[in-house]
Symmetry: C2
Subunit: 192 residues, 2 copies
Amino acid sequence: MYESLFNYISLYSTESLSETEKELIKSIWEPKRLKKHQFFLEENKVCTYTGFILKGALRQYRVDNVGVEHIIQLAIENWWVADRDSFFNRTPSKYYIDAWETTQLLIMHRDNLDAFLKIPAVKEMFWEMNQKNHIASQKRLDDAMNLSAAGKYHNFQDQYPELIQRFPQHQIASYLGIAKETLSRLRRPSAK
Amino acid sequence: MYESLFNYISLYSTESLSETEKELIKSIWEPKRLKKHQFFLEENKVCTYTGFILKGALRQYRVDNVGVEHIIQLAIENWWVADRDSFFNRTPSKYYIDAWETTQLLIMHRDNLDAFLKIPAVKEMFWEMNQKNHIASQKRLDDAMNLSAAGKYHNFQDQYPELIQRFPQHQIASYLGIAKETLSRLRRPSAK
DNA sequence: CGCGGGTTTGATGATGCTCAAGCCCGGTGG
DNA sequence: CCACCGGGCTTGAGCATCATCAAACCCGCG
C-alpha cells in the first residue's frame, strides 16, 4: 500500500529511506477512498490534506462567475493532489478537487507536514518537484499563449497519452482552454 | 551594495543573517554591470550565473522559428534573473536575457550554489520563493487562458504598474501574448 | 534635417467560440 | 427485451475577437 509512495520518493531523491523513516511515513499518511464525484476539496474550504494517488483519477477545477468549470489539473496514479497555496498557507481555496473515477489515495494532514519534511529524502524530493513543476508550468504557459488549438491538443497527446484514455474529451478541452466543439472538430478530419 | 540582497533575504525568511553569513555572501556574489542591449544569457549557452538586480531592467525572451521574440519575463530592481532550468540542471538554455536599461547586478556562479543554500535563511527564502513563483505562474496561466486581451492588460496594470513605466508597450504586449496593435487600440478609447 | 524606434490607425481575414440541433450508446426500469 | 433517458460527442451556421499587413505618424537625437 505504501510502496508506491516510497518508490516515488526514492525516484526523485538521491537519499534513501531508512526503516524508521518508512515507519514515520506510515504513521502520518493514511489511506482514503473516494467514490466517483466525491470531493477531496471544495471551494472556500482550507485544503488541510495533501494526497497521493494510488489508483484512480481526480480533477482540480474552479468555477467561474457564470458557473462554468475550468479544469486546472487532471491527475492519475502517482500524482499529488492538493491546492498548494491553500495547503501551505492555510488559506481558503478557490478550487474544487473531486474524483473522476473511484480512487484510492494516501493522505497526510497539514499538521504533519513539518515532520514529513524533516526526512532528508522527502525534503530533496520536494525540492526537485518544485523545480520540475516550475519548468512544466512555464512550458504550459508558453503553449497556452502561442499554440493554436490544434497545437495544444497534439502537444497534450504527446505528453499525456494516458490521460486521453481516462477523461472524456470535454474535460480535456477545458484543461487545454479550448471549446469542446473545437476539440471535436480537430479530431475528425485528422491525421494521427 | 549588498544591502538590497540582504534585505531581500530577510524579507522572505524568518531566520536572520549572521555576520559570517553576510561575509560568505559577499565572497560568492560579485557585482556586474550590463549596458543596454548587452546579454546576460544567450540561447544554447548554459546559464552559469544567477543574478539579482540592484538597479536597471532586463528582459527574458525566446526567439521562435520565424525570428519573432516572445517575452517570457520582464524584471527590474529586486528581481532574480536566470533561466532556472538551465542554471540548476546545467543544460543549454532556450532563452535570451538582456539588459533593457543599463543595469547593475549582483551575480553568483552556479558552482557556489550549494554554499549559498547552506545558509538557513537562504534555504528558507528559496523555498518561499518557489511557492510564490508556483502560485504566480498558476495565476498567470489562468489569466492567459481565460482573459480577453483587455482583461490581460488591466490585470497587468494592476499587478505591475512600475513595469509599464519602464518598458515600451510592444514588449508588454509580447509578454501578455497579444499583438502590439491590439494593445495600442486598448489604450485609446479608454477607461481608467 | 532626416533617420529610426515606437505607436497609431485602418482594412481584412482567420481562428475558434457560441448556440442550437441531432446523434450515438450504454444503462435502467417497465 | 425493448423504450427511454442522459451524458457525451458531432455538426452546422453565424459571429466576435484578435492577428496580420500596410501605411502614416510622432518625436527625440545625431
